[in-house]
């Protein structure tokens, strides 16, 4: 279980939230409500206070790189540190299996990222997080730039992760998607969670 207690930083919280392993919790809310701040704080990218645990292990007992490998986070606008997707994966063969399930051809691994569409980049970013084999998957509007077919592939991959026991925290404005995937749904406003 992802367990959050009194998570707080300027513009956010305090937040208390539980996401059991194998469950998907959907969060919606207006822009500026603090949804992305919540995911960043769980990933420990910004200074924050509070307790965050995965499977009973407090993040303060893990070094930050190890923690971030366990809580895979895909931001709404993923970024890249190299010129081609292949250089963002530890094991390209394993990554190619994931990307093919997401409708991305193997040849695209060596294609310049600047020539990929926004939707293709979103799916590569999801594959990059899945390759880490995290216990928690945090997705910030993962299908916002996708067509219907690609959305189905991504949702299928999320469902497969849930079946493996991954806890999924999904930020989405798509109510139909939330209905398809969510075990629980919350709305955020002014940095707090409205149940």
């Amino acid at each position: 279980m992802l367990s959050i207690r009194h998570l707080q930083r300027p513009g956010l919280g305090p937040i208390d939230l539980d996401v059991p392993l194998g469950d998907c919790v959907c969060i919606s809310g207006p822009s500026g409500a603090g949804k992305s701040l919540l995911l960043r704080s769980i990933a420990d990218l910004d200074p924050n206070t509070g307790t965050v645990m995965v499977e009973g292990v407090d993040r303060s007992y893990l070094d930050a790189p190890h923690w971030r490998s366990r809580v895979g986070y895909v931001p709404a606008e993923p970024a890249w540190w190299d010129t081609v997707p292949a250089n963002h994966f530890a094991d390209v063969a394993e990554a190619t299996e994931i990307t093919s399930r997401l409708g991305l051809g193997a040849h695209m691994m060596d294609q310049a990222i600047e020539t990929l569409s926004t939707g293709e980049r979103q799916r590569f970013a999801l594959a990059r997080a899945l390759e880490l084999n995290p216990s928690v998957l945090m997705l910030d509007e993962p299908t916002s730039a996708l067509d219907e077919d690609s959305t189905i592939l991504v949702e299928r991959e999320i469902s497969a992760a849930l079946a493996r026991g991954v806890a999924v925290l999904l930020v989405t404005h798509d109510t139909a998607q939330a209905e398809r995937l969510a075990h629980a749904r919350y709305t955020m406003q002014l940095g707090g969670i409205l149940t």
Binding site: A43, D44, L45, D46, P47, D63, A64, P65, H66, R68, S69, G72, Y73, P75, E77, P78, A79, W80, W81, H88, R128, A129, L132
Partner: protein, 267 residues
């Protein structure tokens, strides 16, 4: 030294009149630089005259404490100048302290190395040698450090999302910052590499020209200039690397976060 042509104050004033031509051109072309040029020229005259007086007193006293005091003042001003050249700065003490500290470390190490190996004056801290050496190394290290820090802070700001993407994949902050560190060190080293490559072909370096004008035999002046260029190269690289690595440390915390909240942009 053989002989040199002594300059009178009128000779210097005559050369200074060229600045008046510059000011007139600025006025005619509506550049708006006349006032700044006048202030800069006046500052230069006053500063150099004061330095001349201070150096004269230092050379007479040959005191280790006075030499150390002069070095501290020079390092303090170098830190201030390096800070002034940066658009993005650390908040608080480190906006000055990082540049001053890294330059102090590099310039002192390289100056003491030169004094104790190549030049060997008696006593080793003799201000006639220590102060000009320190000044030349500091001046050049200042350019490299200021360029390196400016580049590092602007690249980390520009590449923030890519750096954080790497962190999200389980990288340490040291790994995530390798690109910006490398780019900053390269940027800071380019001026000294260019200076070494063009020395003697495109321009005669200032110190060598000064020595030749003062009557030193050209090949002796060349040897001194080579020594100085090597010291400047070593000092600049050392100061630059310390400054950029220090900046990368200040820009992170023990949770491997990128702490751009510790930096502000000077308008």
């Amino acid at each position: 030294m053989t002989s040199y042509i002594s300059l009178g104050y009128m000779d210097v004033a005559l050369a200074g009149s060229l600045l008046c031509i510059n000011a007139a051109l600025s006025f005619a072309l509506n550049l708006g630089l006349s006032k700044r040029m006048f202030i800069a020229g006046t500052r230069m005259v006053v500063q150099l005259l004061l330095v001349g007086l201070v150096l004269k007193a230092l050379f007479v006293s040959v005191s280790p404490w006075m030499t150390a005091l002069a070095a501290v003042v020079m390092i303090g001003f170098a830190g201030y100048e390096a800070r002034a050249r940066q658009e993005k700065r650390f908040i608080g003490f480190w906006s000055w302290g990082l540049g001053a500290g890294s330059m102090a470390f590099a310039a002192l190490v390289v100056t003491i190395f030169a004094l104790s190996t190549a030049i060997r004056p008696e006593p080793w801290y003799h201000p006639q040698y220590a102060i000009p050496l320190l000044g030349m190394i500091l001046g050049n290290a200042m350019t490299g450090v200021a360029l390196g820090l400016e580049r590092f802070l602007s690249v980390t700001d520009r590449e923030r999302r890519a750096i954080e993407a790497r962190l999200l994949c389980g990288a340490t902050i040291q790994t995530a910052l390798q690109g910006p560190v490398r780019e900053a060190v390269r940027a800071g080293m380019i001026p000294i590499i260019n200076a070494m490559a063009s020395a003697g072909l495109v321009s005669l370096p200032g110190m060598m020209t000064g020595q030749i004008l003062a009557g030193v035999e050209p090949f002796e002046a060349v040897k001194y200039q080579l020594l100085i260029m090597f010291l400047i190269g070593g000092g600049t690289t050392l100061g630059l690397v310390v400054a950029v690595l220090g900046a990368s440390r200040l820009l992170t915390d023990d949770r491997h976060r990128l702490r751009l909240d510790r930096v502000y942009t000077q308008k």
